[in-house]
């Protein structure tokens, strides 16, 4: 299904309507039934959550059963927090992947890139190369700067590597990230929560 600009506006107006009727404590089943009209019966739906604010609204991602491609993302009517509603950011999740049917968002990064010292540009590289080079940089810096002991106390750290970010990661990712960093002796671990 093609979601045109007009249809998006219709959909987002509708999601506002869902939100508004719920706000007034009215029955929103009519709006919900209407919303169903826009959904393809054969599409597969997968429950997901909005990646924006911390309200944790439930979303349903609809994908084409044949191609597996994302068709649209709408508020999850079963989710107790938002009951199918979505704000403008939540209603635009689809565009994180596709700006229109068959048109991936051209601004998404899809390949590893590398910029050499003094260079004016990035060049595409392979994952294998990138991971292996990054691991070498980490090891080199770590090994040269590692402090084993300080005033008779074992300290096992490097003050020369920092790890920033994580507020948009999944819990499992934040867990492994802090595990790996602390395993390497990194202490400069900070993220958005400090800002």
């Amino acid at each position: 299904m093609a979601i045109t600009r007009r249809e998006f506006l219709k959909l987002s107006a509708l999601s506002t309507a869902v939100l508004m009727t719920a706000e007034l404590g009215l029955d929103n089943s009519k709006a919900y039934a209407q919303a169903q009209k826009y959904r393809i019966k054969t599409a597969k739906k997968t429950p997901t959550l909005c990646p924006f604010c911390s309200a944790g609204c439930g979303m349903l991602a609809y994908t084409d059963t044949k191609t597996g491609e994302l068709l649209y993302v709408v508020g999850d009517p079963d989710h107790p927090v938002n009951r199918g509603g979505a704000c403008s950011k939540g209603a635009s999740i689809y565009q994180i992947r596709n700006i229109a049917p068959g048109k991936p968002n051209p601004r998404r990064l899809t390949k590893p890139l590398y910029r050499a010292p003094g260079s004016k540009e990035f060049k595409e590289v392979t994952w294998e190369w990138a991971i292996s080079e990054i691991a070498k940089r980490i090891k080199d810096t770590r090994d040269r700067t590692f402090i084993k002991e300080e005033d008779g106390i074992t300290v096992m750290r490097t003050d020369h590597i920092a790890c920033l970010g994580g507020a948009a990661l999944d819990n499992e990712e934040t867990y492994l990230l802090q595990k790996l960093m602390r395993g390497l002796g990194v202490v400069y671990i900070e993220h958005q929560a400090r800002l």
Partner: protein, 790 residues
């Protein structure tokens, strides 16, 4: 949040201060409006700017940015003077009756023990008075002049209505209406919530601002009840989780301190001795910490090697590892490498020009993101750099979107919710989990043959999530929950963790979300038997699936709910245990014959809510005190001490003065964009809705400057200068501060030079200065000048 999103429907009054939830957490409006329509709840919006939240509020109270403690302090004073507080709650559930050390005092803007040279307090008098047996002396009548209660009263007696309004600029009638309306929530059966966000925390007194909310809520008996609480509305979808998981220099997972290179932490025994309180729930800390070490090093962690304690890095006792400290040390050339996971410092960090310069000292940078960000391109001419001179290697790794992978995130309400994978990642993008996993395997390979003792930590790091490029997320989730190593089974919850090495657990507060029964973050059951919106079988709330924290306080000292409408848990004399709608935030078998029966705040050593914060728990005082923001147009009217006396001032020469920079500025967010903007400025729909950077100024200031909406203006101070369009609105009005008219201006901070739509970076103007306790930068309440561009 002590409570959760849906619980907003149970409130009788929402005091929204330092937050704009109708725009920045829009779904909150659904529940706040339901409270308004169904319960007749009142909404109060306190904000320098008339926001969309203000437009739905019953009362809108403007205030000057950074005067929140004066605002709340005046409320505390009025409530105490007029005896509007909940006496029974205060007397039983707080430390109001405790006597304070004879030498504790507050004089001329300073608490006892201040050392002006070190800009630090000696905390020895911020203590309770104890008898010979070492017990805290108390006066249950609260009349003794040295009780916390009387000292609190005395402290805030200076915060009179007139004085507060001179400081904050809030019109007096409106201020009084706010106080009287919110104080109504002290009545039985009524509850009031405080909602705050970065408007509360991004100040040099940010922690104390939040403390002042807590004091107010304790006085009104609003903690632990439905529709009550102190509720932080957090920014990113999983900033709750990333904090819970210790992506900060000072804590590991579950809010346990990272080891410091000091004698008190020299070995595991010393560390546990120092870090474990004798009483309160934290007395269980060794179980959580040792289970964490087992999760880090598994079978390599044994009793004989202190469970691998010496492999954990210990930070330097004197070094500042917080965000600003990190960038200051980077500017000095200390750091060589930086990994960034979805973070964009030169848009989102303070004093952006300095951060861009500091980044040039990196030898290498690794940035993982969905989009090309300004920080990845800090070396370009657009960023103001000369590429040829920047020697930094930059590796950019494309990350999968949230719906292109699976995993859990935790909302502000502490709900751990699972999201499933809907579609394969775009192009060659990969889930961050797989990226971290690949990197770990590669590094472990590089260290595999090493015999050096300093490589033991990484060699022995337990990493058993598969050998291919795909990380087995189920194993990760199980490890977070915790495993009983004697049976190999998932532990039921953190009450089953042990300190002898027989259990492992990645994050104790999450323990219970994945027991043998399965991954409870995936639950989608709709039942809400209490009608309070607790939805106990929808996903899982940490800790222990508890939906309302401190819920013991929803019942009176005899264990009966304060009011049937707001019943959460209660003592059942027949069953001899606590029962009810929610999981008790209390040991369920503690009954009336136990003195701990009236200690609802189990995380505190004394079980009481703290009106007075002893022992330097906050570095800048046992009571919140108003100081002016670092950059302020006025003198502090409450004391001769102008600024928070213990904040670290990194760059004194960058302090902008009121003569040259007369306007108070705040940064803020718009509903259509998100944080540093990459996630929304690259979406055509969102870009079209708010396409341009602007400075919001009031009509009166616009007239004074001869500026119309759409005109280009320069906004500048000692740190930077940006050229943006003026957006003239009725939403910013001048305030009368100590008899003088003061203007405030607002800047959205979502823009940068990279993306589908671009704009000037607001953070070029924000100061390198943070809160005394957390080091969160003072993004709200700094000074600027605004002038016509031509």
């Amino acid at each position: 949040m002590t409570n959760h999103w849906i619980d907003l429907k149970n409130t009788d009054c929402a005091l929204i201060i330092g937050a704009n939830p109708f725009e920045n957490h829009p779904v909150s409006s659904k529940w706040l409006m339901e409270a308004k329509v169904k319960r007749g709840a009142k909404i109060i919006s306190v904000d320098p700017r008339f926001t969309r939240t203000s437009s739905k509020a019953d009362i809108y109270a403007p205030l000057r940015a950074g005067t929140d403690i004066a605002f709340i302090g005046g409320m505390i004073n009025y409530i105490l003077e007029n005896e509007l507080y909940d006496h029974e709650y205060v007397a039983n559930y707080t430390n109001a009756s405790f006597l304070v050390h004879d030498d504790y005092k507050f004089e001329d803007g300073l608490f006892s023990g201040y050392d002006p040279k070190e800009r630090k307090y000696d905390f020895s008098t911020w203590e309770y008075k104890k008898n010979e047996k070492g017990e805290i002396e108390k006066d249950p009548t609260l009349k003794h002049p040295r009780t916390v209660f009387q000292l609190l009263k005395q402290h805030y007696s200076r915060y009179t209505i007139d004085k507060v309004c001179e400081i904050t600029g809030t019109p007096k009638e409106i201020y009084l209406e706010v106080i009287k309306t919110f104080a109504e929530t002290a009545k039985r059966g009524k509850s009031g919530t405080i909602l705050y966000a970065m408007g509360g925390t991004q100040h040099s007194c940010g922690s104390q601002i939040v403390r002042s909310y807590a004091i107010l809520q304790l006085l009104l008996g609003n903690m632990g009840v439905p529709g009550g609480g102190v509720n932080a509305l957090r920014g990113e979808s999983n900033v709750q989780g990333s904090t819970d998981f210790g992506l900060l220099n000072h804590i590991i997972t579950g809010y346990i301190s990272t080891p410091i290179a000091q004698p008190e932490h020299k070995d595991l025994k010393a560390y546990l001795e120092k870090e474990t309180p004798k009483t309160g729930f934290w007395s269980n800390k060794p179980k959580f910490f040792i289970s964490y070490l087992k999760a880090m090093y598994y079978d390599k962690a044994t009793k004989d090697n202190e469970f691998g304690y010496q492999w954990l890095p210990k930070r330097h006792p004197k070094k500042n590892y917080t965000y600003i400290g990190l960038f200051e040390n980077l500017a000095k050339g200390e750091l060589e490498g930086m990994l960034l996971f979805g973070q964009n410092p030169i848009v989102g960090g303070p004093n952006s020009n300095r951060e861009r310069e500091a980044l040039k000292n990196l030898k290498w940078m690794v940035a993982v993101d969905l989009w090309m960000t300004e920080t990845m391109r800090f070396w370009t001419e657009e960023a103001g750099s000369n590429p040829a001179e920047v020697q930094t290697e930059v590796f950019v790794l494309p990350a999968a979107a949230s719906f292109e992978k699976q995993g859990s995130i935790s909302s502000s309400g502490r709900w751990i919710q699972w999201r499933w994978k809907a579609v394969e990642p775009l192009g060659e993008a990969k889930a961050d989990l797989d990226i971290i996993h690949m990197l770990a395997l590669e590094l472990k390979k590089l260290y595999a043959q090493s015999q050096r003792p300093e490589d033991e930590p990484i060699k022995n790091l337990y990493w058993d999530y598969g050998t291919g490029n795909e990380c087995d997320i189920d194993r990760v989730a199980r490890e977070i929950n915790g495993i009983d190593l004697t049976t190999g089974k998932q532990v039921e919850n953190f009450l089953k963790l042990a300190d002898d090495g027989s259990t492992l657990c990645g994050n104790w507060i999450y323990s219970g979300f994945y027991p043998e029964a399965g991954n409870l973050a995936q639950r989608r059951e709709q039942d809400d038997p209490s009608g309070l919106g607790l939805y106990p079988k929808w996903t899982y709330a940490w800790p222990l699936n508890r939906r309302i924290l401190y819920n013991r306080a929803s019942a009176d000292p005899t264990g009966k709910p304060w009011h049937p409408d707001k019943a959460v848990i209660w003592w059942d004399e027949n069953q001899k245990k606590w029962v009810g709608h929610d999981v008790p935030d209390f040991k369920p078998t503690i009954g009336p014959d136990d003195p701990a029966f009236v200690n609802p705040f189990i995380m505190q050593t004394d079980g009481k809510g703290w009106l007075f914060a002893p022992q330097g728990k906050l570095k800048d005082g046992p009571f919140p005190e108003h100081y002016e923001p670092w950059e302020s147009p006025v003198q502090n009217l409450l004391s001769p001490v102008q600024n928070n006396p213990v904040i670290k001032i990194w760059r004194p020469e960058e302090q902008s003065d009121a003569q040259n920079y007369p306007y108070v500025a705040i940064t803020y967010r718009v509903s259509e964009h998100w944080q540093a903007g990459a996630m929304t400025r690259n979406l055509p729909w969102q870009a079209e809705l708010v396409p341009e950077m602007f400075v919001e100024i009031g009509e009166e200031l616009a007239r004074e400057l001869g500026v119309k909406s759409g005109d280009e203006v320069i906004v500048e101070n000692k740190r930077g200068s940006i050229k943006v369009k003026a957006y003239v609105t009725k939403r910013m009005k001048p305030l009368m501060v100590n008899g003088i008219k003061r203007h405030q201006v607002g800047l959205p901070w979502h823009f940068g030079f990279q993306g589908l739509i671009t704009g000037e970076i607001a953070n070029k103007l924000t100061p390198y200065l943070g809160d005394a306790n957390t080091m969160i930068p003072e993004y709200k309440g700094f000074l600027v000048n605004v002038r016509r561009a031509k």
